[in-house]
């Protein structure tokens, strides 16, 4: 057999004298191979976040307006961040699987740790919403700015839901809030025109004075 028909692709790295799991045959890939596999599976857990709550829809109406909405239980950026986390975990798993030098292993570990930290933060913060009690709903003055209300009440479940009316020009932009801290339903809506509060709707009571 001629030597040039050989490829020494699986040899240990000459500098470090170490091999990556990708260089080794099945059954001999060691702890790092198993860790890389577990990290890849964690990426699936991050991707499954869209299924945790399921999507649920609802609707509100009153004073000639009606609005329909779909909730997925996450802040608008939550699922995007968790998708990025899943991608980072897959990259980290790939680096751990292929790294031959110690700094490569450190880099892979750092990527995984950072992705897990970001994912944990997104899971905690991405599901934290403000609550709008009936008393707060009644106390909100018409004309109050959206920024002031959000600062006082916290993040809404859903923003920029259009409340349609008989004439398209009269449509309002609404923020949907949960009315109980431990559940997404029932909800209430604060609807704005030109940046000021114009209409208050409650799922239970319709238009709130």
């Amino acid at each position: 057999m001629a030597f040039n028909s050989l490829s020494v692709e699986a040899a240990p790295h000459p500098g470090s004298g170490r091999s990556a799991p990708a260089d080794l045959p099945p059954g001999e890939r060691g702890v790092r191979g198993r860790i890389a596999a577990v990290v890849a599976l964690l990426a699936l857990v991050a991707l499954s976040s869209s299924l945790w709550h399921g999507r649920s829809g609802g609707g509100l109406g009153g004073a000639g307006f009606s609005l329909a909405f779909t909730l997925d239980g996450w802040r608008s950026w939550g699922l995007v961040v968790l998708t990025l986390v899943a991608g980072a975990l897959l990259v980290g798993a790939g680096v751990l699987w292929t790294a031959r030098r110690p700094w490569g292993i450190v880099l892979g570990g750092a990527i995984v740790v950072a992705a897990l930290a970001l994912g944990s933060w997104a899971v905690v913060t991405g599901q934290r919403f403000g609550t709008l009690s009936v008393a707060e709903l009644q106390a909100a003055h018409l004309g109050t700015s959206r920024a002031q209300l959000e600062q006082r009440l916290g993040a809404p479940l859903l923003t920029n839901v259009t409340a349609t009316a008989s004439t398209p020009a009269a449509a309002l932009e609404c923020d949907i809030y949960r009315t109980h801290a431990d559940s997404n339903f029932p909800v209430a809506a604060l609807c704005f025109r030109d940046g000021g509060l114009a209409l208050k709707l409650s799922e239970q009571g319709g238009v709130v004075p």
Partner: protein
């Protein structure tokens, strides 16, 4: 053994995963190629991809991009094999969309008569089985032939859609049947030189069977009215006359009661 590698496991000589060591390609070939490059278990990678696409369907686009863009084997650039992989994914998507998406040709599959859904389901099932069981095409020349023939099929399908828009009065499913028959003739006459047309012709013929089974026409419909059973006055029996693609009923609708 033509390509070998000295592994780190005690200097044991083992076969490397060169081009001929690539795991069998099942659909687009992206997982097999990644498994070859990473020396990773291909089953694990396939499981990851399937579950990830189920959780986040938009990742199918990433998979398709990998199928089309990751060079196969020792190549430096994507080749005809990538295009064939993309076409295979497209065929699977088309079959799944037709059966599970909007139902075959727009209506839920099992709402139709058994004669319709058994035929349609059978054609879809056979297409999926053939797709997954068919061996990969390894020769560069055969890959090129197959890819060009498939692109010709896509061009014919595009021309049919365009024809339906431009000339809606023509029965385009009959034109399509004529094209398939013509392709069969080319296959017979061309022999081995035309064998790249075989798979596209089979796919096209399956599509036509699907159409014929559903009774659908490749004609643009400008207005569709649904009505229940009609009760016609005994004094004025209805007559249905048909002229080309249009149909008229006499007496006219307002005089028909119960519609």
């Amino acid at each position: 053994m033509t390509i070998a590698s000295v592994t780190a496991s005690g200097g044991v000589l083992r076969q490397s995963r060169g081009e001929e060591g690539t795991p069998r390609r099942v659909l687009g070939g992206a997982c097999a190629e990644l498994a070859r490059r990473l020396n990773a278990p291909v089953g694990f990678l396939r499981g990851l991809v399937v579950v990830a696409c189920w959780f986040s369907p938009r990742l199918v686009l990433v998979y398709v991009a990998a199928v089309l863009l990751v060079p196969r084997g020792m190549r430096r650039w994507p080749g005809w094999g990538n295009l064939i992989g993309g076409l295979r994914v497209g065929v699977l998507y088309g079959v799944l969309f037709a059966v599970a998406g909007g139902g075959v040709l727009g209506s839920p599959m099992f709402d139709q008569s058994p004669a319709v859904w058994i035929t349609q389901g059978g054609v879809a099932l056979v297409t999926i089985v053939v797709l997954f069981a068919s061996p990969g095409v390894d020769s560069e020349r055969h890959q090129r032939e197959l890819a060009l023939a498939s692109l010709a099929l896509i061009a014919v399908a595009g021309a049919l859609v365009l024809g339906m828009i431009v000339a809606p009065q023509i029965r385009w499913e009959q034109v399509a049947a004529a094209v398939v028959v013509l392709t069969g003739g080319v296959l017979v006459v061309g022999g081995r030189r035309a064998r790249g047309l075989l798979l596209p012709a089979v796919v096209a013929a399956s599509g036509l069977v699907l159409l014929a089974a559903s009774g659908a026409r490749l004609q643009e419909v400008s207005d569709t009215r649904m009505c229940g059973p009609c009760v016609l006055p005994r004094s004025r029996p209805a007559t249905v006359s048909r002229s080309g693609p249009s149909m008229s009923i006499s007496p006219r609708w307002p005089r028909v009661v119960g519609c």
